[in-house]
Symmetry: C2
Amino acid sequence: MAVTRHTSIAPIDGGITAPTGFRSAALHCGIKAKAGALDLAVLAVDTFASMAGLFTTNLAQAAPVLVSKRHLDVTRGTGCAIVVNSGCANACTGEEGLANARRMTEEVASALGCEPEQVLVASTGVIGVALPIDRVVAGIQEACSSLAHGRGSEAAQAIMTTDPFPKEHAVRVTTPRGSFSIGAMAKGSGMIEPNMATMLGFIATDAQVAPAMLQRALAESARDTFNAITVDGECSTNDSLFAMASGNSGVVIDEELYPALLDGLLSVSRPLALGIVRGGEGATKVIAVSVYDANTVDEARQVARTIANSPLVKTAVHGADPNWGRIVAAAGRAGVRFDMQRVTVRIGGILLFENGLPHDESAARAAEILKRDTVDIEISLGTGNASATIWGCDLSAEYVRINGEYRT
Amino acid sequence: MAVTRHTSIAPIDGGITAPTGFRSAALHCGIKAKAGALDLAVLAVDTFASMAGLFTTNLAQAAPVLVSKRHLDVTRGTGCAIVVNSGCANACTGEEGLANARRMTEEVASALGCEPEQVLVASTGVIGVALPIDRVVAGIQEACSSLAHGRGSEAAQAIMTTDPFPKEHAVRVTTPRGSFSIGAMAKGSGMIEPNMATMLGFIATDAQVAPAMLQRALAESARDTFNAITVDGECSTNDSLFAMASGNSGVVIDEELYPALLDGLLSVSRPLALGIVRGGEGATKVIAVSVYDANTVDEARQVARTIANSPLVKTAVHGADPNWGRIVAAAGRAGVRFDMQRVTVRIGGILLFENGLPHDESAARAAEILKRDTVDIEISLGTGNASATIWGCDLSAEYVRINGEYRT
């Protein structure tokens, strides 16, 4: 991590509620069938916050995505709370779904004394099924009456679906002009519950940041974290990433401190993004595909993404097979121009392909490295100076089992 | 199949050597380890033929692809023979590989009394390994001395790698101006041997066709057959499709008879293309994804291809799960603009999604249909009049097993 000069970043406890000015509550309202399973969380700002959001690019957008996008537009990026449920995605639910998503924001606004447009909403779980709105409303009322500082870990559990573990992280950023905190939580593990993957991410900071700058920093940090991961190349109807800035630390983020904010966002986002990949459906290994010496960052990213999503590369890594041929073939179909004679392929630093020819004498050493739970694949295209990394995971029979089971 | 008016098409025996003017020979020259396993075939025209070819769009192109493309350029689409081997792809083999591919054409030319540039070459099998050129040369000499009519079935076997069955087909096309035959063979079953998929296809006809028209008909027929299938979305270093026209029937293909030639090519290509999908690695079902009412054929094809390659759709079909949500989500990320409210999704004719809402009452009936070995998925985008179909297959744990086994 490139830390800004004179800025230091240190991990701290507390997850999403580590920064000052945020309270949360999480409970079981009855969306999930399992008794006591947390399925609702409310995150509230003590006063008002700058808000920013990034959403799925899928044409099929769930009701909470449509509602949150509109609310961010209407308020120009200010707000007071976020409400999230798991167990039901409220996607492909028509007018009733939109009404239910709006109702969730209205209930929070009513309890907290703000406008519904100042509340954002996110959902994850089964699609095509209506929310049990009465239970959700009762849950929201209860949650809003029990908001507390320092309870972020429960919220991180309440947003899980089939995630094998909760994902939260927080850091303290110290700059020459004071220090601020950033806390975050995320969920996602492929396509789940059993219909739909959803990646949800929430970031809170007590830095003081104007909405436009918060949006810019969120987008820039996501590019190399939440948007640089893939489990199966699928894109959900509900994917959402939110950021809230309370300003409580008194540290004002201007252009001079922007790099410190960005570094802080990267610091909390990277472990969460990698956690999503490591918890990916059926995943046994994280694969970091780095493409170097490309003409542009976009081209590097495109080649890296094609390799990370290649079923043949993913199965080869699963089987600890140092199969440079599949890597070369995937790179070659990525739609990026380069000269195959100048390409090099390395697995775990071991050179396996160069000048159009294999180094099969190194295959046995590379196979040993492929048995580790994190595998680095490095490709140099030899055409320029740009580079990018995409994080993916292997493809196992367990993925097929999880996603091929009949949904009843 | 839309047959031209006054033209009839009927299946006949004989495979690639059904048309007059073609001889073939197939033998075991020692590339494959298994004794007696056919691994070399030569297809020869009695005199000279028009030749056409389509090749992989992968940047990593194997030596035989580079040599065949050059030969077609040099001769402007005339030639006398094709030589094919299985068991070794001669890909990522550098200068030695190019020399070996050229040597194969030289040996055929020498034996048949033509120029090396009049011979095309194709290879399939392991990549990054040099051909045992001495054995191949001896095999070519033996094959060229034993060329015979009516032996196409052996050639269809000699091009197989891990294909579960040989794929050949032939038809007789009867037009008002006479009749001609078309025979074809193909191989391919995913990524194989165990490194690399390769789709190879060979088509012979005794119609008289100018090279440019043969190339045009080959490209047009491939668009809806060999280029409309997918096993795992991967594209090989060696994919090649060749056509040869001997002219022996005396039927001259001009613009008037072009539709008859095209229909004939479609008739032989479609069953071979579907055979490749049905024999796909780990495949238990063929999935025909048809997209209707799109703005353009390209957009229809793009949406169909995205659905056919979606690991979540493929695993759902494998598990007989009528999961319209995954189909909708895949369509939504295909990069094509449409209004999700106007989309309908049918599985086996059963309506599952309409007006943005599911028809879950039909799920049980759709689940029954999904147990068949061919599944039709139909999506209407509601934006225009164009349509396209892509044929794919399901994703099973067996695919992971086949491709995840350590290569040694």
